[in-house]
Symmetry: C2
Subunit: 335 residues, 2 copies
């Protein structure tokens, strides 16, 4: 059998899947950020009339997924798989969204890397001939994440300067075998690395080694340089993690230039007082589904590397003194 | 492109992936059950010298995965993906096992359906030409699950008769493109169904509709009857859920005969006082990796349908009054 692999970790597609549509739904704070105009739908507040933040998060995801379906104009019976994940325990936002949509469902967990993970797995399902269309979507919500991972939101505690702000938002795409839209020619799935960071208020530092590892493996597998990309965007490392990634890449002899940025640095304005930047599954998802997709379609970007970054801890593992494992999954997107 | 799909939900492989090895590790209670002699490794107690039940669960999974790797005799650099999941918040058992193994990692969440989900996705990655070998493994642990989902284990509270006992165990398989071993010719991924069951002490009832739906769709897609299988084994419906599944199938005009059973009914003896049976990701994983694989290899079983069953709730969703969505993923295994 013809193996669609190059190097150690990279898959190269025979028929690169097409991103037929993308849709993003965000909360008011994300709408007030620098990318505000690039989102498809904005909620007036973080709960939008739902009875809990958790139900609201699932609704965000449903709306993003339905938006992507409607925009692609693909009938539900031609969508062969729904791939979704989120940060909540047992990924309930995704499970409850899947209950509404009624599609064969593959639940994923990759923390904040889940959008890239879903796009990577979904692309393999398309290119392998297992699906005509695949729906991929993820969500996060500031208030559900904060009270699950850290402190009661009502407490209003002081956050450390390395802390990131969980994006309230959901992004979704429809992948197809053919049609008009940016294509996914290759993906690089990441390994879990852990250099001992234990501070859940410094996830950027926990994730940076894994992100650098994935970028380095990706470039080596395809014999490319960072400048072969117009944009290399990590998921949500924030300022601390993005700087560390630059440093690791520099020391590895493959410095990143101005083509490198981080979705967590793009989504909020410094004036919004989010400290190190945005985070959450929704962060890279809404930046990709909005701004990056628009720039690809406009021809402003020709080739993008999106590296979803995930901090794979739980409150339980942190309370038990375990350090935070990180992972990075990379997806190439070409206009 | 040639689409490898039949009917609505079923994928049929061009080159059915081979199960090159399987390995199971269980706790003492599972070893005392009727399948005790079929497991590869038995722990003397549920913590085995680790500092917490959660760390112990991750160790169980590592041991099962390493066992499957060793048994297959495949070098690590020829295992292209590790697929894993478990019941713990943010699937930490799997994340920490992935940290040790260092393989490109796809985290899955399908509650107790995760072994079947992993085998289904892993088979697609093999058949699609994206991997030479895929490692799939899942775990569950009575004490980690009980305190996370229900009550403090120290409390020793009365359990309802419909409640199931979470299996302390981990199972893993190595899938490959070729070689000796049972093959996976087809898989049917399930949809999420929810008929309103809210009792986390009655997961069998919550999951039964989705399991029946997947079995019916599978049989219809392949134009088969239940008797075309020597064994149809649901993951962990227990006595309540298995009886309900029989009833739904009967009313749908496709009654299940003696070929149907449930891994949750096989793993413990009635004398072990587990009430409705076993549950947890590890339940179907260790029954499959042990007993079912041995019977396939011995020629006693020719064709098996394994339907992983998942209850997709969380303690948060249950406390907020939400009902429990169910899912079933089916994998065909032929000797």
């Amino acid at each position: 059998m013809n193996l669609k692999r190059v190097g150690n970790q990279t898959v190269v597609f025979a028929n690169p899947p097409v991103i037929l549509s993308s849709y993003s739904v965000v909360g008011p704070m994300e709408a007030q950020g620098p990318l505000g105009k690039t989102f498809d739908k904005v909620w007036p507040d973080n709960i939008n009339g739902e009875k809990s933040w958790e139900i609201a998060e699932s609704k965000l995801l449903q709306e993003a997924m339905q938006g992507a379906i409607d925009q692609a104009g693909v009938p539900n019976d031609q969508i062969d798989f729904m791939l979704a994940g989120d940060l909540l325990n047992q990924i309930i936002s995704s499970n409850f969204a899947a209950r509404k949509l009624g599609l064969p469902f593959i639940g994923l967990y990759g923390a904040c890397s889940t959008m890239a993970l879903g796009m990577a797995v979904g692309s393999m399902l398309i290119d392998g001939g297992f699906a005509r269309h695949v729906l991929v979507g993820v969500s996060s919500h500031h208030d559900t994440a904060e009270r699950q991972y850290r402190l009661p939101t009502e407490q209003g505690g002081q956050r450390s300067l390395s802390a990131q702000w969980t994006v309230t938002g959901a992004g979704a795409v429809i992948l197809g075998q053919s049609g008009a839209g940016p294509r996914i020619p290759a993906v690089t799935l990441g390994r879990v690395l852990d250099y001992g960071e234990t501070d859940a208020g410094n996830m950027g530092a926990a994730m940076a080694p894994a992100i650098a590892d994935t970028i380095l493996n990706h470039l080596q597998d395809l014999q490319r340089q960072p400048t072969d990309y117009n944009l290399i965007a990590s998921g949500d490392l924030g300022s601390v993690g993005a700087n560390l990634t630059r440093e690791v890449m520099q020391r590895s002899g493959t410095p990143l230039g101005p083509e490198y940025t981080d979705c967590g640095l793009l989504v909020y304005d410094q004036k919004q007082d989010v400290h190190a930047g945005g985070s959450g599954c929704g962060c890279s998802a809404v930046v990709f589904a909005g701004s990056i997709m628009q720039r690809l379609k406009a021809g402003e970007l020709k080739r993008v590397l999106l590296i979803g970054s995930g901090a794979l801890h739980s409150p339980t593992s942190s309370l038990q003194g375990e350090s935070i494992p990180g992972i990075g999954h990379a997806v190439v997107i070409e206009a």
